[in-house]
């Protein structure tokens, strides 16, 4: 082997270790006896499942989990529908005002994402409507239009127009073309978009922290953040267990979605 290759292997091994270490460390911490941050060695001498048990019996973690699941699923359903409708219309039809709609979407994307969120927070605060899950669901699903519409539009652009023209000639209404031909063809894109919205809502911290006020209404993200920022040194291992439980499903989902990632990134680039 050439020395260049050997050096490359060494660097790759170091990088791989750096990539894995934090994950490994948090997993090991979650199985460790005691509750402190300090660890003598990476692999604990005694392994325990106590922290996972505590998470479900002594904290509101199960409640937070159900809240988060409810919010993420609802946002994903409503958001995917909105993205589907918007992207289909602007990809397939050349209607008056289409350019305006496109530019509006582009301009809205340039506002800091939570400028709207903060305004909604002030409004809800004034109307005494804070601490409501529906505020989160509506804002996540509506916000998902801006984030995903151009990827979805790009996907519809690749479906040949001859398909819907043929169906139209055969007498299908616009609605039938949409529901019977386009939606089934767009299924891979819809899966991707709905999972993106789901994970986004699942781990969002900014807006949930603004809106949710009481312990029972909290989501996992807010709950986890509170655990670290308030009880840092005393209950670290509990946090570790909570973090592992959130990270595992999302990480697996992302590994599965990896092949879409480059497409998503480049689609994002063409719209800017």
């Amino acid at each position: 082997m050439k020395p260049k290759i050997i050096v490359s292997y060494l660097i790759l091994i170091v990088l791989a270790a750096i990539s894995i270490y934090p994950a490994l460390w948090i997993v090991m911490s979650s199985f460790k006896v005691g509750n402190s941050l300090y660890m003598e060695s990476l692999i604990p001498k005694q392994v325990t499942l106590e922290h996972y048990r505590d998470l479900f019996t002594k904290t509101d973690y199960p409640l937070w989990f159900m809240n988060t699941l409810k919010i993420a699923i609802m946002s994903s359903l409503i958001g995917t529908l909105l993205v589907l409708l918007t992207s289909y219309a602007i990809s397939r039809f050349r209607f008056t005002g289409r350019k305006v709609a496109l530019s509006t979407l582009l301009v809205l994307q340039m506002f800091p994402g939570f400028m709207a969120m903060i305004a909604i927070y002030i409004l809800l605060l004034q109307f005494n409507l804070l601490n409501n899950h529906w505020a989160l669901i509506l804002v996540y699903s509506s916000g998902s239009i801006l984030g995903n519409v151009f990827i979805a539009k790009g996907y519809f652009d690749t479906i040949p127009r001859s398909l819907d023209e043929a169906a139209r000639i055969d007498g299908a209404s616009h609605w039938m073309v949409f529901t019977r031909i386009m939606v089934p063809l767009a299924r891979p894109m819809l899966t991707y978009v709905s999972l993106m919205i789901f994970t986004g809502a699942f781990v969002d911290f900014i807006f949930a922290e603004l809106i949710l006020r009481t312990e029972e209404q909290r989501t996992l993200a807010v709950g986890l953040w509170r655990m670290v920022s308030q009880r840092q040194s005393t209950e670290f291992t509990l946090f570790a267990a909570g973090a592992v439980l959130i990270a595992v499903p999302i990480t697996i989902l992302f590994m599965f979605l990896q092949r879409y990632l480059v497409q998503g990134l480049t689609a994002g680039a063409s719209k800017g």
Binding site: K4, F114, M115, Q126, W225, F236, A269, S270, G272
Partner: protein
């Protein structure tokens, strides 16, 4: 007969429905006249009142009023409610104008039809043609409603706040909010207590965005090139392992990092102390080290993304370019500099620019890792690592400085918008998008 369309148009500008009646479309004319009456009534009552509220933002403050012999708390105007009502009134007015324009257009086109001797379009046929041609509008109805109420309205509301004195001591319902023009903008730049924070935070935001973008981009490129070398085996395995930081949700990995870099008990400092006999570093508590730490952690999170992206592009570079270079006796450094680098840069430039814009708004890395700390005593409500976005968030949530946070939001928008527009001009993909279809 050339006059028909002109006259109809002028008549319907004067009063909705007259033009239609002139075109001898009785049912339609009467319908439009009825709508006209309704619009006038609503404008005179609801819309004008709400617009007035938007202009004054309330006149009677909440306070004690003497009623008989007792003082009673009388609720005054609530400026924020008035502002929202005013905004809705403005939306309604725009809708009215839309209907009005529709009416004028209808009168004009039907007038033309009469001139050409074609039958006019009645109500029923009009509705049918709407059904045929306006499927996209029908589809877009729901998204449009949700975007206008949950994105556009809030943003407009937030922009309006930038021109008021809605901040900590002046809070409704106890106080009335007033318009102050551009005073907040000038305060931010000229009042030394605010301007010091603003320029300090802005400077760090720009430095952060540049460093964060460059380190992740070139780091990712180096890793990608290293993996794609002909001699390296198990390419898929390396890519799989190195993508892990990206797959773990940001929220979790950042909170984990926060503990990993903990000054007293974090494993990194323990390692430095026990194994290397060093002092251990103030990773998150020293201003300079905190900045270095956020950049390092951001590399850990960001390099995998650039790596996959650039790996994808590397495979599209034609092999024969490298073969030709080898025949000419180019070294691997030369091949990288003159083939790989320009090819990759060329195809990822727009993404690079947008990553830069994204880093200006990179809330999560800063807020979850350092929370903007260590606190800078010379700043107003900000720490050494605070970006404009995290400062904006703190100003709203913890200090109720709504007007200043709105000003900062507008400034961020201007920065991001100029970068994005520059990007569109360069890539021109927006203009050419119709060519794909």
């Amino acid at each position: 007969m050339k006059r028909q369309s002109r006259t109809a148009m002028w008549l319907s500008i004067l009063c909705m429905g007259l033009g239609q009646l002139y075109n001898r479309q009785k049912a339609k004319g009467v319908l439009f006249l009825a709508i006209w009456a309704g619009l006038i009534y609503l404008t005179a009552t609801y819309v004008s009142k709400s617009l007035q509220g938007l202009i004054t933002l309330g006149e009677t403050p909440t306070g004690m009023v003497k009623v008989g012999r007792l003082y009673q708390l009388v609720e005054g105007d609530h400026s924020i409610f008035l502002m929202i009502k005013g905004l809705i009134g403005l939306f309604v007015l725009l809708l009215f104008i839309g209907i009005y324009v529709m009416n004028v257009r209808d009168a004009y086109t039907n007038g033309q039809r009469i001139e050409r001797g074609v039958p006019t379009v009645g109500i029923i046929r009009g509705l049918k043609s709407i059904e045929n041609n306006s499927f996209p509008y029908f589809v877009l109805l729901l998204p449009a409603i949700s975007i206008s109420f949950l994105t556009v309205m809030p943003i407009v509301f937030n922009i309006l706040l930038a021109f008021t004195n809605y901040a900590d001591p002046v809070l409704p319902p106890a106080n009335l909010v007033d318009w102050v023009g551009f005073k907040n903008f000038s305060n931010l730049v000229t009042l030394s207590s605010w301007s010091k924070t603003f320029f300090g935070v802005l400077g760090w935001t720009v430095v952060w965005a540049i460093l964060a973008t460059i380190t992740t981009y070139f780091g990712g490129m180096l890793v990608a090139v290293m993996i794609e070398q002909p001699g390296i085996r198990f390419k898929k395995f390396w890519r799989m392992v190195l993508i892990i930081p990206f797959a773990i949700p940001n929220l979790v990995s950042l909170l984990v990092m926060r503990n990993l870099f903990n000054g007293q008990l974090g494993p990194i400092n323990i390692f430095l102390r026990n194994k290397l006999g060093l002092e251990g570093l103030p990773w998150l508590t020293d201003p300079v080290w905190a900045k270095i730490t956020v950049i390092l952690v951001n590399m850990w999170i960001g390099i995998p993304v650039s790596m996959i992206l650039i790996s994808g592009i590397l495979t599209t570079i034609p092999r024969d370019l490298y073969e030709a270079a080898e025949v000419d006796g180019a070294s691997s450094v030369q091949k990288f500099r003159h083939i790989t680098l320009p090819m990759v840069l060329f195809s990822t430039a727009p993404i690079l620019i947008m990553q830069f814009a994204g880093n200006i708004n990179n809330f999560n890395v800063i807020f979850l890792l350092t929370n903007g700390d260590p606190v800078n005593p010379q700043y107003q409500y900000a720490g050494h690592t605070d970006l404009l976005v995290t400062w904006l968030y703190k100003l709203t949530l913890n200090h109720q400085q709504y007007n200043l946070s709105a000003v900062i939001g507008i400034i961020i928008f201007i920065i991001i918008a100029s970068i994005s527009i520059y990007n569109f001009r360069k890539t021109r993909s927006f203009k050419e998008e119709d060519m794909i279809v």
